[in-house]
């Protein structure tokens, strides 16, 4: 019997074929989607890890070479700035910023409920994160001569002027400002001196080369760093145990290592530092940008009681914390 070669498919055949194809397509879509999500998370983590490695390596080299001399000057200082207006001279774009200053952010020492020692990785360092500056002899800074350096995060457009009308993306970035050896020599080794303050609130075109306050965009060390903090410890000469000297409590937002009579913990040069950076994934940075600059198009989900909680909810979900313990060897005991 000869089969009619021009005969078409029956409806049943077509339905069965379409069903099988759809099932296969659905299966493949699920696998491909999951794989791509995994790949993206992996890439984000690897990028953040590489950034953290770069930043923490630099901080480690700088802190290991930090200098201290009991001459009354401030050789190392750290401040947590919780006032948005006070961050303008640091080159912050405070317009539309939703990062809370206190409350949700004010966990300089996180609570622990099992009697263990709190970890810096769980801490939150206020609105600004830590503004850390000190004198170091990092050999990468043009020989072993002392230089003044500062580390801080700033929220600002990634390029161009620090204005709300700048269309560039706004990001939280960790900066390292280094003053040249000759300028440090002529300005002095007191990092709290007003000469190291910012001379301009818009540094993009006119950065004061002496500033430890207002970093240039070229000083960016790592992007999407939403929190940066340090804890300082002094070592007990008898037991060798470390005693935290900064912060002493959740309200201790400043530390200045300088001699002046009997040195209190507030003015002690540390023996050991814990340093942390919290780095957002690019996806988290985009979400945060939409949250802060969305012009009200993004509505807070009902499960967040406040904007502060919402901000930290997104950040905690999309960020990774990297911490390191560093020994400072430049102090006199």
């Amino acid at each position: 019997m000869r089969r009619n070669s021009r005969r078409g498919f029956t409806l049943l055949e077509l339905l069965v074929a379409a069903t099988i194809t759809l099932m296969l397509a659905g299966l493949m879509l699920t696998v491909v989607t999951n794989t791509l999500n995994l790949w993206r998370r992996n890439q984000n983590r690897f990028t953040a890890s590489a950034q953290a490695l770069l930043a923490l390596d630099m901080i480690e080299r700088d802190l290991q070479g930090a200098l201290y001399r009991a001459d009354g000057g401030t050789w190392l200082a750290v401040d947590v700035v919780n006032n948005a207006a006070a961050l303008v001279p640091h080159g912050w774009l405070t317009n539309l910023s939703m990062k809370p200053a206190t409350g949700e952010s004010g966990r300089l020492i996180p609570d622990v409920d099992d009697g263990t020692t709190p970890l810096i990785g769980n801490a939150r360092f206020g609105l600004s994160g830590c503004w850390l500056r000190f004198v170091t002899t990092n050999v990468e800074s043009g020989g072993a001569l002392p230089i003044a350096v500062s580390y801080q995060i700033a929220r600002r457009p990634v390029s161009g002027p620090i204005t709300a009308s700048n269309p560039a993306e706004v990001r939280y970035t960790l900066f390292r400002s280094a003053v040249s050896t000759s300028t440090t020599f002529s300005t002095g080794y007191d990092v709290a001196a007003s000469d190291y303050g910012s001379a301009s609130v818009s540094p993009a075109a006119s950065r004061n080369p002496k500033t430890l306050m207002n970093p240039n965009n070229a000083d960016a060390l790592a992007t999407n760093v939403v929190d940066f903090g340090v804890w300082f410890y002094a070592r007990d000469d008898a037991t060798g145990a470390l005693r935290r000297i900064f912060p002493s409590d959740n309200n201790d937002s400043t530390h200045a290592a300088r001699a002046g009579g009997a040195v209190s913990d507030d003015n002690r040069f540390p023996d050991v530092a814990d340093v942390m950076v919290r780095i957002l994934s690019e996806q988290g940075a985009v979400l945060l940008d939409e949250l802060e600059n969305g012009g009200g198009h993004v509505i807070r989900p009902p499960n967040y009681a406040s904007d502060a909680e919402w901000w930290w909810g997104i950040v905690e979900t999309h960020s990774t914390v990297y911490a390191r313990r560093i020994e400072l060897r430049g102090g006199t005991r």
Partner: protein, 176 residues
């Protein structure tokens, strides 16, 4: 009688569906291998963290040296020899930011070393041969350090077998 070929005959529907199914299975199998990249990445991340340990380790060893003296610490660390002797043990958190001595000079104050802070196991041996060998009174204690992981997995009570641990080795010196 000549066999006549059908030059215009295409594939049947069944053939096409079977071909698509085979293709889909092959692609899915290949994509299924990709999660192993995550495991490789985890291992790489842990290795990088382990290599970051020397500074935090030196801080803890210095504490131990203050409590008992460098000579006592040198005595506690056994000479590096085959087979490797049991020696001074320390542990570290997975992010490598916190190191605690396990069995020598208990941790500072009321600190407890909980299981979550024991991801890395750190073993410290001193050198047995000159010039790095240590004798009481010497000003420098040179150590061979082995960091292996996972020692304890956070949240798990099961201790992974020692044979399945990854490890890195490095040397470290403490001054008196």
């Amino acid at each position: 009688m000549m066999i006549r070929l059908r030059p215009h005959a295409g594939f049947t529907l069944i053939e096409v569906v079977v071909a698509v199914a085979l293709f889909a299975v092959a692609v899915t199998a290949m994509l299924g291998l990709l999660p192993s990249v995550t495991r490789v990445s985890d291992r790489s991340n842990d290795t990088m963290n382990a290599l970051r340990l020397p500074d935090a380790l030196r801080v803890e060893l210095r504490r131990a040296a203050v409590v008992g003296g460098l000579d006592a610490l040198g005595e506690q660390t056994k000479p590096f020899a085959a087979p490797l002797p049991e020696t001074c043990l320390l542990v570290a958190t997975r992010d490598a930011s916190r190191v605690s001595a396990l069995d020598y000079q208990p941790p500072a104050s009321a600190e407890q070393v909980n299981a979550d802070a024991q991801y890395f196991l750190i073993e410290a041996w001193r050198f047995s041969d000159p010039p790095l060998a240590f004798a009481p009174g010497d000003s420098v204690l040179a150590l061979h350090i082995r960091v292996s992981w996972p020692y304890r997995i956070p949240g798990s009570l099961v201790l992974p077998p020692a044979t399945e641990r990854e490890h890195v080795d490095f040397n470290l010196a403490l001054n008196r």
